[in-house]
């Protein structure tokens, strides 16, 4: 319990190499508890690789501490049990199982053999709360495979909640979502970040401007810039490598308006809903 009071993510000198290619090259990253940190950067910057290293999927050197517990070198499932949860670029849920079963499995990593060999009776309380949070209560009995794309992503986030993850690593959670779904996801992040640490790999700039608390920009396996959204956008280095030219940056600046610019895709979206 005590380690969760200051639970934050501390990465020092992280280095990941694949057959000589250095994907992550000495990254330092501190994400305090309660933060919503966005990792951005061009393709190949090493964003997803950092997430993979933290969750034990790829071998890495350096140091990754969460709540003062060293994560490097541990098995994937042991890291998960320490309260580190992640999602993937494509929603990976158990399509043939129901929403309830998906969440129940996510909630049960600590269950003993006796509980596992019994049937589930009713809906566990943590699952019911997560269902409420992600807004899928009415779909509880549906196979997860028939859910809409956005709902699948929320189900994944719900699985992290019942898993009782204290560090949430989300890999492009709003990719492929409609504007409404993205907003709903952003709100959801705000709710769940209250007593957790959230790290998001994302390409969607508009989503980032609305919901990021802090941003780390990566480029070619290194940290290029770090700070608030405004700090990072003002950084000329970022404008150069990430946004291409200063002109692009100016456009990005201009569209940073609370009232969203006219959305060209909106009409198409409406038509589709009627169909």
């Amino acid at each position: 319990m005590t380690d969760q009071i200051f639970a934050g993510l501390e990465i020092r000198g992280l280095r990941v190499a694949f057959d000589g290619f250095v994907a992550v090259d000495g990254v330092d990253l501190s994400v305090p508890r309660g933060d919503i940190r966005f990792l951005i950067g061009p393709n190949g910057a090493g964003k997803t690789t950092i997430v993979d290293a933290v969750t034990g999927l790829v071998r890495a050197t350096g140091s990754v501490e969460f709540g003062e517990q060293q994560l490097l070198g541990l098995d994937v499932h042991k890291i998960a049990r320490l309260g580190v949860g992640r999602t993937f670029q494509t929603a990976t849920i158990f399509e043939e199982l129901t929403v309830l079963q998906n969440l129940d499995i996510a909630a049960g990593a600590g269950r003993g053999a006796r509980t596992l060999l019994r049937r589930r009776k009713g809906v566990p309380e943590s699952v019911a709360r997560a269902l409420e949070t992600i807004g899928l209560t009415e779909h509880i009995g549906k196979p997860a495979g028939v859910l809409a794309h956005g709902q699948k992503q929320w189900l994944e986030i719900g699985m992290l909640l019942v898993q009782d993850a204290k560090l949430l690593l989300l890999d492009e959670p709003v990719a492929g979502m409609s504007a409404d779904e993205r907003d709903a996801t952003g709100e959801l992040l705000g709710v769940i970040a209250a007593d957790r640490t959230v790290v998001i790999v994302e390409h969607d700039m508009e989503f980032l401007r609305k919901y990021a608390r802090t941003v780390t920009v990566l480029h070619a396996g290194k940290v290029l810039s770090e700070g608030s959204v405004a700090d990072v956008q003002a950084d000329p280095k970022v404008q150069e490598v990430y946004l291409g030219t200063a002109a692009d940056a100016a456009v990005a600046e201009a569209s940073d308006d609370p009232a969203r610019p006219a959305d060209p895709a909106e009409p198409a979206h409406t038509v589709n809903q009627e169909a």
């Binding site: 709003v174 508009e206 589709n272």
Partner: protein, 391 residues
């Protein structure tokens, strides 16, 4: 439809009725209408059905295509046959085949414990389970799966059969252990005693089905399906998928061992040909035909396929293998979930097109999957579009 098979959860009344009906057919109707010869055959098929129930668990729910259940069948059958053989051999003498082929004058040391029923009977189930647990721990932890696991399991069946053939002096070699006359003192030539053996087999099948049903409906059963469909995802939820798979594999091996032991009592012999690659694959074909994800599919499929094999090969010995192969191809190509999925498929066909299963039925606030992708691609920053195309 696949989901329906996984989630189908009949209430306790229907389950009790189902098991009651099964018991009625197996224990009352079958012995009443079948000749002694046919009842013996049915007993043999039911042994295969017990193996099939295990494969249904390991392959249907756990995704482990085990092409070598003959190994565990044999590890159950041989201890049973050794015990029955020794029970017929007077103290101080050797079993018949050892006198013929062996050069030993005393019983080999590893045969001695099988004089005792208290050792031999538990061994028939526990030995396959221990071997499967050890094997599963090694193989699944190293993330061997899919076709690699299938080939490995098949090679083991071949290896065990070859090993036994090579040890003629102590295992009976190709001939195996034959001429088993009695069963715990009961003469196996007596039809009444043979009927008793049949009843034991039938009761064991019902028990194994019950165990499989309990496992499938438990949280463990749900977890096993989750491991089958997303092993990596399960790992990130804090489970060790290797352990989850090993448990199912071990239970399946125990069932195969039990079936092997019962098989010896029904057929009065065991030989390497019954535990080799060919019978191992035949087990799997029955399961595939019946429907690997359902509870009853594997058992019914195993009985149906072996019954068809006997009946057809009595009349057209040469054509059976072609038919068996053809049946397997047809089922895998057109009915991936076997004959058990046929009723659900027909039910869905009848009402016609209005309700397509893949569409969410309840009103949802979001649009169909195709449009958000388009919308997001259109609205997101240029970088986003590039990344989505590439990822």
């Amino acid at each position: 439809m696949k989901a329906a098979a996984v989630l189908g959860r009949p209430g306790p009344v229907r389950t009790a009725l189902g098991f009651g009906l099964g018991a009625l057919v197996l224990l009352v109707v079958a012995p009443g209408v079948l000749s002694d010869f046919r009842l013996d055959l049915l007993g043999k098929y039911l042994c295969f059905a017990i193996v099939a129930v295990g494969i249904g668990l390991a392959w249907g729910r756990g995704g482990m295509l085990t092409l070598g259940q003959g190994v565990f069948f044999g590890l159950g059958a041989y201890p049973m046959a050794m015990y029955l053989k020794l029970a017929e051999t007077p103290e101080g003498k050797l079993p018949d085949f050892m006198q013929l082929y062996g050069d030993a004058t005393t019983l080999p040391t590893w045969w001695v414990p099988f004089r005792s029923a208290a050792v031999a009977l538990p061994t028939t189930i526990l030995l396959p389970m221990v071997v499967a647990f050890g094997l599963g721990s090694l193989v699944f932890r190293r993330r061997v799966r899919g076709p690699y696991f299938a080939i490995l399991s098949q090679a083991l069946a071949a290896a065990l059969a070859i090993f036994i053939v090579g040890q003629q002096g102590t295992t009976g070699g190709t001939n195996g252990l034959t001429d088993i006359r009695s069963f715990f003192g009961y003469d196996l030539d007596d039809p009444a005693n043979r009927k008793l053996v049949y009843v034991i087999v039938a009761v064991c099948l019902l028990a194994v089905l019950w165990i499989s049903r309990q496992l499938a409906q438990s949280r463990y059963g749900e977890l096993l399906v989750a491991v089958r469909d997303g092993e990596e995802r399960v790992r990130f939820l804090g489970y060790d998928p290797a352990l989850v798979k090993t448990v199912a594999y071990t239970v399946a091996a125990g069932m195969a061992g039990l079936a092997g032991a019962l098989f010896v009592c029904v057929v009065h012999a065991i030989n390497p040909a019954s535990i080799d690659i060919v019978p191992s694959i035949a087990f799997v074909i029955g399961v595939a035909v019946g429907g690997r994800t359902s509870l009853l599919g594997p058992a019914l499929g195993a009985v149906a396929v072996t019954w068809a094999q006997t009946t057809l090969s009595e009349q057209y010995p040469a054509t059976w293998s072609y038919l068996q192969g053809g049946l397997f191809i047809v089922v895998v190509a057109f009915l991936p979930n076997g004959l058990a999925s046929l009723p659900a498929l027909l039910r869905r066909r009848r009402p016609g097109p209005p309700s397509t299963p893949d569409e969410p039925t309840a009103p949802v606030s979001t649009s169909p999957p195709a449009s958000p992708v388009a919308a997001a691609a259109a609205t997101a920053a240029p970088a986003a579009t590039v990344s989505e195309v590439s990822s």
